[in-house]
Symmetry: C2
Subunit: 585 residues, 2 copies
């Protein structure tokens, strides 16, 4: 037997018990004749003591050779500690070692197994099995396990059935790029890994499953932006005989439940904003509404007053930074430089300080008088002590630029309180967007999203105006998930594919099975998919998903630990009837 | 709103309630002035009635156009049925339709949506979304969902953490064949899909996770035998600081729990047999022990008596078929032909009938007298009325042939009672088997399995004699899972790879990360993996896994519904820097 107890459970109730413990050596304090070791396992730390007076001398000698991260098994007696540590559950006791065995030795780890490790990102990924020993990562994985268990239990209690959909499916070139899998049994043919189980969950609704869920891996072969993974986990759900509000209500309850169970926070009804309003008020379709700084449109007040930068631009937008009037010139210059970066590419930033004493100082003092500027501040609902920042530019993107500045300021002013949770539903997205490059319509979400009923005719006359029957769930500025009521008519589905530029043959070839299924009594249905990685990270009070994934890949899609992807043998390629065909450069 | 209730819940308590129901039209009985429809959803069936006297005439006219599998929404009043159906939960009531809407029409389905469908296998796979509407398949999927929920809850209650391991991993050519995934970001390099998360779960143990589980898809690119799938689901577990008996006890509890919850069966402690004993007694390493017919070795009694077929063969093995003495000559000939098939390739089958009246009739009457044959029957623990069947052949395989005959007889005599559950642990497998073709050792399970401690020295002298610290779980003749205590020493792991014919470079290249991890304090650990598909099928009282998988593939690895695998575009291949390279034939 390796243990009678784990390293996190012995208390003063166990004093004078004989126990067996196994674990890792976290810390050694060696006074020669007496040695204390912090013995660690997943459950906690127990202090063990080797004492020349009370243990045998042979044991002490053997114990001298123990190093950090050795795995040892000890047996001994639980005794009262001399110096009690009230912060630890096991802090009142220690175990006087009678005998022990080294179960495995350890080289010196390449970084410290501490909450604040000295390991850099690359090193930690290479030795991920050591990184997982650290409390922050270990606790993230435990939290993830608990959250998924809670989600499953909630959905099961609400009559959802978990159904596993296949991983070896079919490549459909539109949308993101598929990972493909060559078929040896059908040479020259390929499976694809699912970007999501979208069509399968719809088929389950056609099959009468009524309420489906699955926590499932999805795959996208995209150039990885920071904090994206080529494989990610999705809470995938679909319901039959529902309208938009039914889905919203169901998943509002889920979010309520999770925030209450894991954070002790009771949220109110989740507000619903239209896409149009989000863009207008926050310059983003996934606004962080934990703080204000809404966008204000100053065209009427500020244009045609002879200030060229305003007169020559389509859109003049201001936000009030609370308590920003005391910003130094340097700090304001930093924001100005920030908006001038190529990623934002604004021409400049106008600032107006509304000082505590009621005076005004601004970068456009020469062009506008006090009364004018006060009107602007009033219009933007500014108060004494605030700072009004203004961008001018094209109508099509100045709001988005201001949205980004708003987030940047909030980040710097620490307005994004990690203990506050402000979920939001965003609805009424356009069904399509116009792709200027390819001169064609693209689905805003995906081609299975239903238009709202009253816009069915608009599909024929002005498709870019058609509103989708969709909804996104945003928490604290992160898009956590999205969904929609789906098309369940084969004719409408074909019409959408045709609007998206599919020939009838292409549509049938790629999605014929779904279109066909709609001819056999497809019920009205809709669903949602939530990003598990990000949801867990947010509940964990963080926004970086990598530390909530056991074995993540780096930004080049590489697993640094197992050194993957890697070459395969020519035998394997031959069996698949494939050849590597390097690009000529 | 689509429904106030589902189709499985209205009872006489609801009489005179106004309700809204939505569902599929299962059955129509149309008397012209009165129409009954069985309305079906996932939850059940409710009879609805359109009655010219009590509904409007317009409604009746509209209702005439409803066809099978139409999706309709109705509202009406719950009334008492005239002819009560006590077998249905909703059998006391019907709903008098006041108004209805056709939510979707349906073509005539290609097979009937009935428990006993008229659809063949291929048709059912092509229209799987319709097949899922049938109770047998739907209930299988619901059972699967409930079993997985129960497994998760059991393991969580036992301190296991569910951790998701990656799907894009690294190809390791030994063992079964990998599915590979070309990496676009790293051209010429490939990921592989996991055959199991074996190395990752071991790394989680090195990482201190202590108890891990995951219900996870695994992939094997094998030529598919009947009832195998290229992707399958595994209940994957690993524990630290355990010995064999700890793992066995933990998962014995799981099986106990599942059989009790889903079948109401309380099993006794699961028997443990050694591999050697299984082969000897049952001619199989996964014996069905629901019935007897053990193998008996007749060499001493039957050899060297002048009967050439016995004298010239190494091994003479008999089994007693209970109540087989009344088998017709034709039936016995069928068994003789069965063992002569190329798959078994026995020379012939000797039979001895021990009749109820005490007389004996046999195919070897001329060579052996009554007293001799009675001795054999006694030795085989036969009774009056039994039939003794004997095979003679090589020592290396006659027991296996007899094991197959034993199963075939049990199948035909219906001794394999689907309501009986006889789990069994098989232990003490050899660590290696000798591959005669490749002239090298192969792992019986996989190269990470630890040998039993007292055989460590034997590795150097006679590796084929080394017993593995492993265990298989067998239920009713099906291998449900297997596992082992793992190697946690980098030296021993390297030694095993070397015995398996890996060069040091190959071992490091493929498994260096695991060997390295063992140098940093790897705890003793072991685990198990259970096949979910088969476990669910067995609990469902069946042995065919396909009907417990929502979207299975056929024996050529094809999904007949989505028509996958399929061609991909040359753009996709170019991006991956791959070319199709057909074999010259």
């Amino acid at each position: 037997m390796y243990r009678s107890h784990n390293c996190g459970e012995l208390t003063s109730k166990n004093i004078s018990n004989e126990v067996i413990l196994s674990g890792w050596v976290q810390k050694i304090r060696n006074k020669g004749f007496i040695i204390w070791i912090d013995l660690r396992d997943r459950f906690g730390i127990t202090q063990i003591i080797f004492d020349q007076k009370r243990s045998s001398k042979k044991i002490i000698e053997k114990a001298q050779k123990i190093g950090r991260e050795y795995v040892i098994k000890i047996n001994g007696e639980v005794i009262k500690r001399e110096s009690i540590n009230p912060k630890m559950k096991t802090g009142e006791i220690e175990v006087l070692v009678k005998d022990f065995t080294v179960l495995n030795s350890s080289l010196l780890p390449p970084f410290t197994i501490q909450d604040n490790s000295d390991g850099g990102e690359e090193l930690r990924l290479k030795y991920r099995y050591l990184d997982i020993r650290r409390n922050p990562i270990k606790n993230n994985l435990i939290l993830r396990s608990k959250i998924t268990a809670e989600i499953r239990s909630f959905l099961s209690d609400n009559d959802f059935i978990e159904v596993e959909t296949p991983y070896l499916i079919k490549s459909t070139p539109e949308g993101a790029r598929d990972f493909i899998v060559p078929s040896r049994m059908n040479p020259g043919n390929f499976y694809a890994l699912p970007q999501s189980p979208q069509t399968f969950k719809q088929l389950l609704m056609v099959g009468g499953i009524d309420k489906y869920f699955q926590i499932v891996k999805c795959f996208r072969d995209e150039d990885l932006r920071a904090d994206r993974q080529p494989e990610f986990s999705q809470i995938d759900c679909e319901m039959s005989f529902v309208k938009r509000d039914d889905v919203i209500k169901q998943f509002e309850n889920l979010i309520y439940n999770l925030l209450y169970k894991f954070k002790g926070i009771k949220i109110d009804k989740i507000p619903i904003l239209t896409y149009e309003k989000c863009i207008r008020l926050y310059g983003s379709d996934k606004p962080d509404i934990r703080f204000g700084m809404k966008l204000n449109y100053l065209n009427e007040l500020a244009k045609n007053k002879g200030f060229e930068p305003f007169d020559s631009n389509e859109s003049i937008i201001g936000i009030c930074v609370p308590n920003g009037s005391n910003f130094s010139r340097k700090k304001i210059d930093q924001f100005t430089n920030w908006v001038k970066r190529p990623e934002i590419a604004a021409n400049g930033l106008i600032w107006i300080k509304y000082n505590e004493d009621g005076s005004i100082k601004s970068s456009i003092d020469k062009y506008f008088n006090y009364n004018e500027l006060i009107k602007w501040i009033d219009f933007c609902e500014g108060k004494k002590g605030d700072l009004l920042l203004i961008l001018a530019g094209d109508k099509s993107n100045t709001n988005l630029k201001m949205g980004l500045l708003r987030m940047e300021i909030a980040e710097r002013l620490e307005l994004r309180d990690p203990e506050k949770y402000s979920p939001l539903w965003v609805i009424d997205f356009p069904l399509f967007m116009w792709d200027e490059e390819e001169k064609c319509l693209k689905s805003m979400h995906h081609p299975f999203t239903a238009p709202i009923e009253k816009h069915l005719d608009l599909l024929n006359t002005d498709p870019t105006k058609v509103i989708a029957n969709s909804y996104d769930l945003v928490i604290n500025g992160n898009e956590i998930g999205g969904g929609s009521i789906r098309i369940n008519s084969s004719d409408l589905q074909k019409r959408i594919f045709s609007l998206l530029g599919f020939s009838e043959e292409e549509a049938i070839n790629q999605f014929g099975f779904l279109i066909d299924s709609f001819k056999y009594g497809a019920p009205p249905h809709g669903g949602i998919a939530l990003g598990l990685d990000r949801l867990v990270a947010i509940i964990g009070g963080q926004e970086i998903i990598r530390d909530f994934i056991a074995f993540p890949k780096n930004n080049s899609g590489k697993d640094l630990m197992i050194k993957s992807p890697s070459k395969i043998s020519s035998d394997q390629l031959n069996e698949l009837q494939l050849r590597i065909n390097p690009l000529k450069s």
